[in-house]
Protein backbone atom coordinates (compact mmCIF):
# COMPACT_ATOMS: atom_id res chain seq x y z
CA UNK A 1 0.00 0.00 0.00
CA UNK A 2 1.47 3.36 -1.02
CA UNK A 3 1.45 6.49 1.19
CA UNK A 4 -1.31 7.93 -0.98
CA UNK A 5 -3.43 4.79 -0.58
CA UNK A 6 -2.91 4.91 3.17
CA UNK A 7 -3.92 8.57 3.23
CA UNK A 8 -7.06 7.99 1.19
CA UNK A 9 -8.12 4.98 3.31
CA UNK A 10 -7.61 6.96 6.53
CA UNK A 11 -10.94 8.16 7.96
CA UNK A 12 -11.57 11.89 7.55
CA UNK A 13 -12.24 14.13 10.56
CA UNK A 14 -15.91 14.11 9.62
CA UNK A 15 -16.00 10.29 9.56
CA UNK A 16 -14.30 10.10 12.95
CA UNK A 17 -16.75 12.60 14.51
CA UNK A 18 -20.07 12.12 12.71
CA UNK A 19 -22.13 14.05 15.27
CA UNK A 20 -19.76 17.01 15.57
CA UNK A 21 -21.14 20.53 15.09
CA UNK A 22 -18.23 21.49 12.85
CA UNK A 23 -15.61 19.33 11.16
CA UNK A 24 -12.82 20.89 9.16
CA UNK A 25 -10.72 18.49 7.14
CA UNK A 26 -7.39 19.46 5.53
CA UNK A 27 -8.71 22.91 4.75
CA UNK A 28 -6.57 25.11 2.50
CA UNK A 29 -7.23 28.63 1.21
CA UNK A 30 -4.85 30.24 -1.24
CA UNK A 31 -5.12 33.88 -2.29
CA UNK A 32 -2.80 33.95 -5.31
CA UNK A 33 0.57 33.10 -3.69
CA UNK A 34 -0.57 33.61 -0.08
CA UNK A 35 -1.58 30.58 1.98
CA UNK A 36 -4.22 32.22 4.21
CA UNK A 37 -5.21 28.82 5.62
CA UNK A 38 -2.75 25.99 5.32
CA UNK A 39 -4.06 22.44 5.74
CA UNK A 40 -5.93 22.67 9.02
CA UNK A 41 -8.19 20.00 10.53
CA UNK A 42 -10.32 20.02 13.66
CA UNK A 43 -13.67 18.89 14.94
CA UNK A 44 -15.91 20.70 17.43
CA UNK A 45 -18.37 18.67 19.51
CA UNK A 46 -21.91 19.96 19.91
CA UNK A 47 -22.41 22.18 22.95
CA UNK A 48 -18.76 23.27 23.14
CA UNK A 49 -17.24 26.76 23.16
CA UNK A 50 -13.98 26.97 21.25
CA UNK A 51 -11.70 29.95 20.94
CA UNK A 52 -9.76 30.58 17.75
CA UNK A 53 -6.64 32.52 18.68
CA UNK A 54 -3.97 34.07 16.55
CA UNK A 55 -2.42 37.34 15.53
CA UNK A 56 -3.54 39.47 12.61
CA UNK A 57 -3.32 37.48 9.38
CA UNK A 58 -3.23 34.13 11.21
CA UNK A 59 -6.21 32.88 9.17
CA UNK A 60 -8.96 33.02 11.82
CA UNK A 61 -11.45 35.14 9.86
CA UNK A 62 -10.84 33.18 6.65
CA UNK A 63 -11.41 29.92 8.53
CA UNK A 64 -14.69 31.19 9.99
CA UNK A 65 -15.74 32.58 6.59
CA UNK A 66 -15.14 29.17 4.99
CA UNK A 67 -17.19 27.48 7.72
CA UNK A 68 -20.01 29.95 6.96
CA UNK A 69 -19.73 29.41 3.22
CA UNK A 70 -18.82 33.06 2.52
CA UNK A 71 -15.41 32.03 1.20
CA UNK A 72 -14.78 28.92 -0.90
CA UNK A 73 -11.84 26.74 0.15
CA UNK A 74 -9.09 25.98 -2.32
CA UNK A 75 -9.14 22.40 -1.08
CA UNK A 76 -10.36 20.40 1.90
CA UNK A 77 -13.79 19.89 3.39
CA UNK A 78 -16.04 21.68 5.84
CA UNK A 79 -19.03 19.97 7.42
CA UNK A 80 -21.50 21.92 9.55
CA UNK A 81 -24.27 20.23 11.56
CA UNK A 82 -23.70 17.09 9.46
CA UNK A 83 -24.01 18.93 6.13
CA UNK A 84 -21.24 19.74 3.66
CA UNK A 85 -20.52 23.41 3.16
CA UNK A 86 -21.14 25.20 0.89
CA UNK A 87 -22.91 22.52 -1.20
CA UNK A 88 -25.63 21.85 1.40
CA UNK A 89 -25.69 25.30 2.97
CA UNK A 90 -29.45 25.68 2.40
CA UNK A 91 -30.03 22.91 4.94
CA UNK A 92 -28.02 24.55 7.73
CA UNK A 93 -28.00 28.34 7.28
CA UNK A 94 -31.29 28.63 9.17
CA UNK A 95 -29.81 26.71 12.12
CA UNK A 96 -26.69 28.83 12.52
CA UNK A 97 -25.90 32.52 12.80
CA UNK A 98 -22.93 34.82 13.16
CA UNK A 99 -21.60 38.17 14.27
CA UNK A 100 -18.58 39.80 12.71
CA UNK A 101 -16.92 43.23 12.63
CA UNK A 102 -16.78 42.82 8.84
CA UNK A 103 -20.53 43.30 8.51
CA UNK A 104 -23.00 45.86 9.85
CA UNK A 105 -26.71 46.07 10.36
CA UNK A 106 -28.47 48.63 8.09
CA UNK A 107 -27.97 52.01 9.77
CA UNK A 108 -31.19 53.78 8.82
CA UNK A 109 -33.46 50.99 10.01
CA UNK A 110 -34.48 50.97 13.67
CA UNK A 111 -33.41 48.09 15.89
CA UNK A 112 -36.92 46.66 15.79
CA UNK A 113 -37.10 46.94 11.98
CA UNK A 114 -33.73 45.22 11.61
CA UNK A 115 -34.72 42.39 13.90
CA UNK A 116 -38.06 42.07 12.10
CA UNK A 117 -36.37 41.75 8.69
CA UNK A 118 -33.82 39.19 9.90
CA UNK A 119 -36.47 37.32 11.89
CA UNK A 120 -38.53 36.97 8.72
CA UNK A 121 -35.47 35.89 6.71
CA UNK A 122 -34.87 33.14 9.27
CA UNK A 123 -38.60 32.29 9.32
CA UNK A 124 -38.82 32.80 13.09
CA UNK A 125 -42.29 32.01 14.35
CA UNK A 126 -43.94 34.34 16.91
CA UNK A 127 -41.44 36.98 15.83
CA UNK A 128 -42.83 39.87 17.88
CA UNK A 129 -42.54 37.71 21.01
CA UNK A 130 -38.98 36.66 20.14
CA UNK A 131 -37.96 40.30 19.59
CA UNK A 132 -39.50 41.27 22.94
CA UNK A 133 -37.64 38.38 24.59
CA UNK A 134 -34.29 39.47 23.08
CA UNK A 135 -34.98 43.11 23.95
CA UNK A 136 -35.38 42.07 27.57
CA UNK A 137 -32.42 39.64 27.63
CA UNK A 138 -30.02 42.03 25.93
CA UNK A 139 -31.39 45.22 27.44
CA UNK A 140 -32.46 46.76 24.12
CA UNK A 141 -35.80 48.19 25.25
CA UNK A 142 -34.59 51.78 25.69
CA UNK A 143 -33.44 52.11 22.09
CA UNK A 144 -35.41 49.48 20.19
CA UNK A 145 -37.17 52.11 18.07
CA UNK A 146 -34.02 54.15 17.43
CA UNK A 147 -32.10 53.93 14.11
CA UNK A 148 -29.13 51.57 14.31
CA UNK A 149 -26.79 54.31 13.07
CA UNK A 150 -27.58 56.45 16.11
CA UNK A 151 -26.48 53.86 18.67
CA UNK A 152 -23.24 53.73 20.62
CA UNK A 153 -20.67 51.00 19.85
CA UNK A 154 -21.81 48.96 22.85
CA UNK A 155 -25.48 49.23 21.88
CA UNK A 156 -24.67 48.23 18.28
CA UNK A 157 -22.82 45.16 19.52
CA UNK A 158 -25.83 44.13 21.60
CA UNK A 159 -28.08 44.60 18.55
CA UNK A 160 -25.70 42.52 16.41
CA UNK A 161 -25.81 39.84 19.09
CA UNK A 162 -29.62 39.99 19.11
CA UNK A 163 -29.57 39.48 15.33
CA UNK A 164 -27.17 36.55 15.78
CA UNK A 165 -29.52 34.97 18.33
CA UNK A 166 -32.83 35.79 16.58
CA UNK A 167 -33.23 32.22 15.25
CA UNK A 168 -31.95 30.49 18.42
CA UNK A 169 -28.98 29.08 16.45
CA UNK A 170 -27.55 25.68 17.26
CA UNK A 171 -24.22 27.00 16.03
CA UNK A 172 -22.94 30.51 16.65
CA UNK A 173 -19.85 31.89 14.92
CA UNK A 174 -18.44 35.02 16.48
CA UNK A 175 -15.56 37.08 15.15
CA UNK A 176 -14.23 39.46 17.82
CA UNK A 177 -17.58 39.65 19.65
CA UNK A 178 -16.38 42.13 22.27
CA UNK A 179 -13.97 44.24 20.21
CA UNK A 180 -14.25 47.98 20.97
CA UNK A 181 -16.49 47.40 23.99
CA UNK A 182 -15.87 48.84 27.42
CA UNK A 183 -14.96 46.19 30.05
CA UNK A 184 -18.40 46.29 31.67
CA UNK A 185 -20.31 45.74 28.40
CA UNK A 186 -17.79 43.12 27.26
CA UNK A 187 -18.21 41.22 30.52
CA UNK A 188 -21.95 41.46 30.16
CA UNK A 189 -21.82 40.05 26.60
CA UNK A 190 -19.63 37.13 27.76
CA UNK A 191 -22.06 36.32 30.56
CA UNK A 192 -24.89 36.30 28.06
CA UNK A 193 -23.03 33.97 25.69
CA UNK A 194 -22.24 31.55 28.53
CA UNK A 195 -25.90 31.51 29.56
CA UNK A 196 -27.08 31.03 25.99
CA UNK A 197 -24.74 28.08 25.47
CA UNK A 198 -25.89 26.39 28.70
CA UNK A 199 -29.60 26.93 28.11
CA UNK A 200 -29.57 25.84 24.45
CA UNK A 201 -26.66 23.39 24.30
CA UNK A 202 -25.39 25.59 21.46
CA UNK A 203 -21.96 25.28 19.90
CA UNK A 204 -19.93 28.48 19.80
CA UNK A 205 -16.77 29.17 17.83
CA UNK A 206 -15.24 32.54 18.53
CA UNK A 207 -12.22 34.30 17.14
CA UNK A 208 -10.75 36.74 19.59
CA UNK A 209 -7.68 38.74 20.53
CA UNK A 210 -8.91 39.00 24.09
CA UNK A 211 -7.10 36.26 26.01
CA UNK A 212 -9.04 36.78 29.24
CA UNK A 213 -12.24 36.35 27.28
CA UNK A 214 -11.02 33.08 25.81
CA UNK A 215 -9.79 31.81 29.20
CA UNK A 216 -13.12 32.58 30.78
CA UNK A 217 -15.45 31.35 28.03
CA UNK A 218 -13.75 28.56 26.16
CA UNK A 219 -13.34 24.92 27.03
CA UNK A 220 -10.94 24.55 24.13
CA UNK A 221 -8.48 26.78 22.32
CA UNK A 222 -7.10 26.50 18.80
CA UNK A 223 -4.06 28.68 18.24
CA UNK A 224 -3.33 29.64 14.64
CA UNK A 225 -0.23 31.16 13.13
CA UNK A 226 0.39 31.90 9.44
CA UNK A 227 -2.60 29.80 8.43
CA UNK A 228 -1.61 26.70 10.40
CA UNK A 229 -2.76 25.28 13.71
CA UNK A 230 0.03 25.83 16.21
CA UNK A 231 -1.74 24.23 19.18
CA UNK A 232 -5.14 22.79 20.04
CA UNK A 233 -6.19 21.87 23.59
CA UNK A 234 -7.96 23.09 26.72
CA UNK A 235 -6.73 26.49 27.98
CA UNK A 236 -5.30 24.82 31.11
CA UNK A 237 -3.40 22.16 29.17
CA UNK A 238 -1.97 24.74 26.76
CA UNK A 239 -0.82 27.02 29.60
CA UNK A 240 0.77 24.03 31.36
CA UNK A 241 2.52 22.93 28.17
CA UNK A 242 4.09 26.35 27.73
CA UNK A 243 4.77 26.72 31.46
CA UNK A 244 2.71 29.90 31.49
CA UNK A 245 0.00 31.16 33.82
CA UNK A 246 -2.04 33.10 31.25
CA UNK A 247 -3.05 32.57 27.65
CA UNK A 248 -1.69 36.02 26.87
CA UNK A 249 1.83 34.78 27.69
CA UNK A 250 1.27 31.73 25.51
CA UNK A 251 0.01 33.96 22.71
CA UNK A 252 3.17 36.09 22.92
CA UNK A 253 5.37 32.98 22.89
CA UNK A 254 3.63 31.75 19.74
CA UNK A 255 3.57 35.17 18.07
CA UNK A 256 7.26 35.78 18.75
CA UNK A 257 8.39 32.32 17.75
CA UNK A 258 9.38 31.19 21.24
CA UNK A 259 7.30 28.06 20.94
CA UNK A 260 9.93 25.36 21.18
CA UNK A 261 11.87 27.06 23.94
CA UNK A 262 8.77 27.55 26.03
CA UNK A 263 7.65 23.94 25.50
CA UNK A 264 11.08 22.58 26.39
CA UNK A 265 11.26 24.76 29.50
CA UNK A 266 7.92 23.28 30.54
CA UNK A 267 9.28 19.75 30.09
Amino acid sequence: MTENDKASSRPTVAERSPSAAITVDHLVKLYKQTRAVDDISFSLPRGSITGLLGGNGAGKTTTIAMIMGLVLPTSGRVQVLSHRMPEESAAVLGRMNFESPYVDMPMRLTVRQNLTVFGKLYAVKHLAGRIAELAEDLDLADFIDRANGKLSAGQKTRVALAKALINRPELLLLDEPTASLDPDTADWVRAHLERYRKENNATILLASHNMLEVERLCDRVIIMKRGRIEDDDTPEAIMARYNRTTLEEVFLDVARGRVNGAKEAAR
Partner: protein, 272 residues
Protein backbone atom coordinates in the same frame (compact mmCIF):
# COMPACT_ATOMS: atom_id res chain seq x y z
CA UNK B 1 -39.32 28.02 16.40
CA UNK B 2 -37.90 27.81 12.90
CA UNK B 3 -40.15 27.04 9.95
CA UNK B 4 -39.45 23.52 8.70
CA UNK B 5 -39.78 24.62 5.05
CA UNK B 6 -36.75 26.88 5.47
CA UNK B 7 -34.56 25.18 2.91
CA UNK B 8 -37.17 24.08 0.37
CA UNK B 9 -37.81 26.05 -2.83
CA UNK B 10 -38.29 29.77 -3.20
CA UNK B 11 -39.77 31.44 -0.13
CA UNK B 12 -42.29 34.26 -0.61
CA UNK B 13 -41.74 35.15 3.06
CA UNK B 14 -38.04 35.74 2.57
CA UNK B 15 -38.70 37.83 -0.55
CA UNK B 16 -41.31 39.74 1.48
CA UNK B 17 -38.76 40.29 4.26
CA UNK B 18 -36.34 41.90 1.80
CA UNK B 19 -39.06 44.10 0.28
CA UNK B 20 -39.97 45.18 3.82
CA UNK B 21 -36.30 46.02 4.44
CA UNK B 22 -36.17 48.32 1.39
CA UNK B 23 -39.58 49.82 2.17
CA UNK B 24 -38.42 50.73 5.70
CA UNK B 25 -35.34 52.34 4.17
CA UNK B 26 -37.29 54.31 1.55
CA UNK B 27 -39.80 55.56 4.08
CA UNK B 28 -37.07 56.60 6.52
CA UNK B 29 -35.32 58.88 4.05
CA UNK B 30 -37.06 61.80 2.30
CA UNK B 31 -33.99 62.53 0.08
CA UNK B 32 -34.29 59.03 -1.34
CA UNK B 33 -37.97 59.61 -2.12
CA UNK B 34 -37.31 63.05 -3.58
CA UNK B 35 -34.57 61.69 -5.82
CA UNK B 36 -37.06 59.19 -7.30
CA UNK B 37 -39.31 62.07 -8.37
CA UNK B 38 -36.74 64.72 -9.22
CA UNK B 39 -34.90 63.34 -12.25
CA UNK B 40 -37.90 61.95 -14.16
CA UNK B 41 -39.74 65.27 -13.67
CA UNK B 42 -36.71 67.24 -14.86
CA UNK B 43 -36.38 64.98 -17.91
CA UNK B 44 -39.97 65.25 -19.03
CA UNK B 45 -40.08 69.05 -18.59
CA UNK B 46 -36.84 69.63 -20.54
CA UNK B 47 -37.66 67.28 -23.40
CA UNK B 48 -41.32 68.25 -23.44
CA UNK B 49 -40.50 71.90 -24.13
CA UNK B 50 -37.98 70.83 -26.79
CA UNK B 51 -40.66 68.77 -28.46
CA UNK B 52 -43.05 71.76 -28.42
CA UNK B 53 -40.44 73.96 -30.06
CA UNK B 54 -39.58 71.41 -32.75
CA UNK B 55 -43.23 70.68 -33.44
CA UNK B 56 -43.82 74.36 -34.21
CA UNK B 57 -40.96 74.41 -36.70
CA UNK B 58 -40.95 71.01 -38.45
CA UNK B 59 -43.70 69.25 -40.33
CA UNK B 60 -42.44 65.76 -39.52
CA UNK B 61 -42.56 66.28 -35.78
CA UNK B 62 -45.91 68.00 -36.03
CA UNK B 63 -47.16 64.82 -37.72
CA UNK B 64 -45.30 62.52 -35.32
CA UNK B 65 -46.45 64.32 -32.21
CA UNK B 66 -45.30 62.62 -29.04
CA UNK B 67 -42.42 60.53 -30.39
CA UNK B 68 -39.84 62.59 -28.54
CA UNK B 69 -41.64 62.84 -25.22
CA UNK B 70 -42.82 59.22 -25.59
CA UNK B 71 -39.21 58.16 -26.10
CA UNK B 72 -38.19 60.12 -23.00
CA UNK B 73 -40.80 58.35 -20.87
CA UNK B 74 -39.95 54.89 -22.23
CA UNK B 75 -36.21 55.53 -21.86
CA UNK B 76 -36.82 56.52 -18.25
CA UNK B 77 -38.69 53.25 -17.66
CA UNK B 78 -35.61 51.39 -18.93
CA UNK B 79 -33.04 53.52 -17.10
CA UNK B 80 -34.95 54.02 -13.83
CA UNK B 81 -35.96 50.36 -13.82
CA UNK B 82 -32.31 49.36 -13.80
CA UNK B 83 -31.38 52.03 -11.25
CA UNK B 84 -34.27 50.99 -9.01
CA UNK B 85 -32.92 47.46 -9.06
CA UNK B 86 -29.26 48.39 -8.68
CA UNK B 87 -29.67 51.07 -6.01
CA UNK B 88 -31.52 48.65 -3.74
CA UNK B 89 -28.61 46.26 -4.25
CA UNK B 90 -26.06 49.02 -3.61
CA UNK B 91 -27.84 49.91 -0.36
CA UNK B 92 -26.68 46.50 0.93
CA UNK B 93 -23.11 47.16 -0.15
CA UNK B 94 -23.09 50.67 1.35
CA UNK B 95 -24.57 49.31 4.59
CA UNK B 96 -22.01 46.43 4.66
CA UNK B 97 -25.02 44.13 5.04
CA UNK B 98 -24.23 41.72 2.18
CA UNK B 99 -22.45 39.28 4.52
CA UNK B 100 -25.49 39.13 6.80
CA UNK B 101 -27.73 38.34 3.81
CA UNK B 102 -25.40 35.78 2.26
CA UNK B 103 -25.12 33.99 5.59
CA UNK B 104 -28.90 33.96 6.05
CA UNK B 105 -31.23 31.41 4.40
CA UNK B 106 -31.99 33.98 1.66
CA UNK B 107 -31.22 32.43 -1.72
CA UNK B 108 -29.67 34.43 -4.59
CA UNK B 109 -32.83 34.03 -6.69
CA UNK B 110 -34.97 35.33 -3.80
CA UNK B 111 -32.63 38.27 -3.36
CA UNK B 112 -32.89 39.10 -7.06
CA UNK B 113 -36.69 38.71 -7.08
CA UNK B 114 -36.98 41.15 -4.17
CA UNK B 115 -34.79 43.63 -6.08
CA UNK B 116 -37.09 43.25 -9.11
CA UNK B 117 -40.17 44.04 -7.01
CA UNK B 118 -38.36 47.04 -5.52
CA UNK B 119 -37.46 48.32 -8.98
CA UNK B 120 -41.20 48.26 -9.85
CA UNK B 121 -42.10 50.11 -6.65
CA UNK B 122 -39.40 52.75 -7.14
CA UNK B 123 -40.36 53.10 -10.80
CA UNK B 124 -44.01 53.63 -9.91
CA UNK B 125 -43.06 56.38 -7.45
CA UNK B 126 -40.97 58.18 -10.09
CA UNK B 127 -42.72 57.49 -13.38
CA UNK B 128 -46.39 57.94 -12.54
CA UNK B 129 -45.95 61.64 -11.56
CA UNK B 130 -43.77 62.05 -14.68
CA UNK B 131 -46.54 60.79 -16.96
CA UNK B 132 -49.04 63.09 -15.24
CA UNK B 133 -46.70 66.04 -15.80
CA UNK B 134 -46.48 65.12 -19.50
CA UNK B 135 -50.27 65.00 -19.66
CA UNK B 136 -50.90 68.34 -17.98
CA UNK B 137 -48.00 70.34 -19.41
CA UNK B 138 -47.73 68.93 -22.93
CA UNK B 139 -51.05 67.11 -23.46
CA UNK B 140 -49.19 63.85 -24.10
CA UNK B 141 -51.14 60.97 -22.59
CA UNK B 142 -48.84 57.96 -22.51
CA UNK B 143 -51.72 55.82 -21.21
CA UNK B 144 -53.55 56.49 -24.50
CA UNK B 145 -51.08 54.06 -26.06
CA UNK B 146 -53.33 51.41 -24.49
CA UNK B 147 -52.38 47.75 -24.54
CA UNK B 148 -49.18 48.28 -26.55
CA UNK B 149 -47.88 50.30 -23.59
CA UNK B 150 -47.99 47.10 -21.51
CA UNK B 151 -45.89 45.29 -24.13
CA UNK B 152 -43.42 48.21 -24.24
CA UNK B 153 -43.25 48.39 -20.45
CA UNK B 154 -42.72 44.64 -19.94
CA UNK B 155 -39.95 44.45 -22.52
CA UNK B 156 -38.15 47.50 -21.15
CA UNK B 157 -38.39 46.35 -17.55
CA UNK B 158 -37.09 42.87 -18.46
CA UNK B 159 -34.04 44.47 -20.09
CA UNK B 160 -33.51 46.77 -17.11
CA UNK B 161 -33.55 43.76 -14.75
CA UNK B 162 -31.05 41.87 -16.90
CA UNK B 163 -28.65 44.80 -16.85
CA UNK B 164 -29.30 45.27 -13.11
CA UNK B 165 -28.57 41.62 -12.34
CA UNK B 166 -25.36 41.68 -14.36
CA UNK B 167 -23.96 44.90 -12.85
CA UNK B 168 -24.92 43.73 -9.34
CA UNK B 169 -22.82 40.63 -9.96
CA UNK B 170 -19.92 42.82 -11.10
CA UNK B 171 -20.14 44.94 -7.94
CA UNK B 172 -20.39 41.82 -5.78
CA UNK B 173 -17.25 40.45 -7.39
CA UNK B 174 -15.22 43.66 -7.63
CA UNK B 175 -16.51 45.67 -4.67
CA UNK B 176 -17.72 49.25 -4.64
CA UNK B 177 -14.86 50.22 -6.96
CA UNK B 178 -17.15 48.94 -9.74
CA UNK B 179 -20.06 51.11 -8.61
CA UNK B 180 -19.73 53.57 -11.49
CA UNK B 181 -20.77 50.77 -13.89
CA UNK B 182 -24.19 50.83 -12.23
CA UNK B 183 -24.69 54.45 -13.23
CA UNK B 184 -23.11 54.37 -16.68
CA UNK B 185 -23.69 51.03 -18.39
CA UNK B 186 -27.20 51.86 -19.58
CA UNK B 187 -25.86 55.00 -21.31
CA UNK B 188 -23.71 52.75 -23.50
CA UNK B 189 -26.99 51.24 -24.74
CA UNK B 190 -28.64 54.64 -25.34
CA UNK B 191 -27.18 55.48 -28.79
CA UNK B 192 -27.47 51.90 -30.07
CA UNK B 193 -31.02 51.29 -28.85
CA UNK B 194 -32.15 54.15 -31.12
CA UNK B 195 -34.22 55.84 -28.44
CA UNK B 196 -34.67 59.17 -30.24
CA UNK B 197 -34.13 58.18 -33.91
CA UNK B 198 -34.92 55.20 -36.17
CA UNK B 199 -32.47 52.33 -36.68
CA UNK B 200 -32.11 53.32 -40.34
CA UNK B 201 -30.09 56.36 -39.23
CA UNK B 202 -27.25 54.10 -38.04
CA UNK B 203 -24.49 52.82 -40.35
CA UNK B 204 -25.25 49.32 -41.65
CA UNK B 205 -22.82 47.46 -39.38
CA UNK B 206 -24.18 49.16 -36.26
CA UNK B 207 -27.72 48.26 -37.24
CA UNK B 208 -26.86 44.61 -36.54
CA UNK B 209 -25.73 45.59 -33.04
CA UNK B 210 -28.88 47.67 -32.53
CA UNK B 211 -31.16 44.77 -33.46
CA UNK B 212 -29.39 42.61 -30.87
CA UNK B 213 -30.71 44.92 -28.14
CA UNK B 214 -34.32 44.38 -27.00
CA UNK B 215 -35.02 48.11 -26.33
CA UNK B 216 -34.42 48.88 -30.03
CA UNK B 217 -37.53 46.85 -30.87
CA UNK B 218 -39.56 48.78 -28.30
CA UNK B 219 -38.53 52.24 -29.53
CA UNK B 220 -39.10 51.23 -33.17
CA UNK B 221 -42.46 49.84 -32.08
CA UNK B 222 -43.34 53.09 -30.33
CA UNK B 223 -42.51 55.14 -33.44
CA UNK B 224 -44.56 52.78 -35.61
CA UNK B 225 -47.49 53.22 -33.25
CA UNK B 226 -47.29 57.01 -33.01
CA UNK B 227 -46.38 57.78 -36.62
CA UNK B 228 -48.08 55.00 -38.59
CA UNK B 229 -50.69 54.00 -35.97
CA UNK B 230 -49.52 50.39 -36.35
CA UNK B 231 -48.79 48.02 -33.49
CA UNK B 232 -45.86 45.83 -34.58
CA UNK B 233 -46.43 42.49 -32.84
CA UNK B 234 -43.37 41.04 -34.59
CA UNK B 235 -41.14 43.64 -32.95
CA UNK B 236 -42.57 42.92 -29.48
CA UNK B 237 -42.11 39.15 -29.91
CA UNK B 238 -38.53 39.70 -31.09
CA UNK B 239 -37.81 41.81 -28.00
CA UNK B 240 -39.43 39.22 -25.75
CA UNK B 241 -37.28 36.40 -27.15
CA UNK B 242 -34.10 38.46 -26.76
CA UNK B 243 -35.12 39.45 -23.22
CA UNK B 244 -35.67 35.83 -22.23
CA UNK B 245 -32.16 34.96 -23.41
CA UNK B 246 -30.73 38.06 -21.71
CA UNK B 247 -32.41 37.27 -18.36
CA UNK B 248 -31.09 33.71 -18.35
CA UNK B 249 -27.60 34.88 -19.33
CA UNK B 250 -27.52 37.64 -16.70
CA UNK B 251 -28.67 35.27 -13.95
CA UNK B 252 -26.00 32.75 -14.95
CA UNK B 253 -23.41 35.56 -14.96
CA UNK B 254 -24.58 36.71 -11.51
CA UNK B 255 -24.16 33.19 -10.08
CA UNK B 256 -20.72 32.86 -11.68
CA UNK B 257 -19.65 36.27 -10.30
CA UNK B 258 -21.03 35.37 -6.85
CA UNK B 259 -19.02 32.16 -6.89
CA UNK B 260 -15.95 34.08 -8.00
CA UNK B 261 -16.54 36.58 -5.14
CA UNK B 262 -16.63 33.67 -2.69
CA UNK B 263 -13.46 32.24 -4.15
CA UNK B 264 -11.81 35.65 -4.02
CA UNK B 265 -13.01 36.54 -0.51
CA UNK B 266 -14.56 39.81 -1.70
CA UNK B 267 -17.83 39.21 0.19
CA UNK B 268 -15.91 39.90 3.38
CA UNK B 269 -14.14 43.02 2.18
CA UNK B 270 -16.95 44.56 0.10
CA UNK B 271 -15.17 47.92 -0.18
CA UNK B 272 -12.99 49.23 -2.98
Amino acid sequence: MINSSLHRGISVHRIGAMILRYWYLLMSSWPRLLELLYWPALQVITWGFLQLYIAENANFFARAGGTLIGAVILWDILFRGQLGFSISFLEEMWARNIGNLMMSPLKPIEFLLSLMVMSLIRLAIGIVPMTLLALFLFHFNVYALGLPLIAFFCNLIFTSWSVGIFVSGLVLRNGLGAESIVWTLMFAILPLACVYYPVSVLPAFLQYVAWALPPTYVFEGMRALLIEQTFRTDLMLGALALNAALLVASFAAFLALLRSAKRNGSLLSGGE
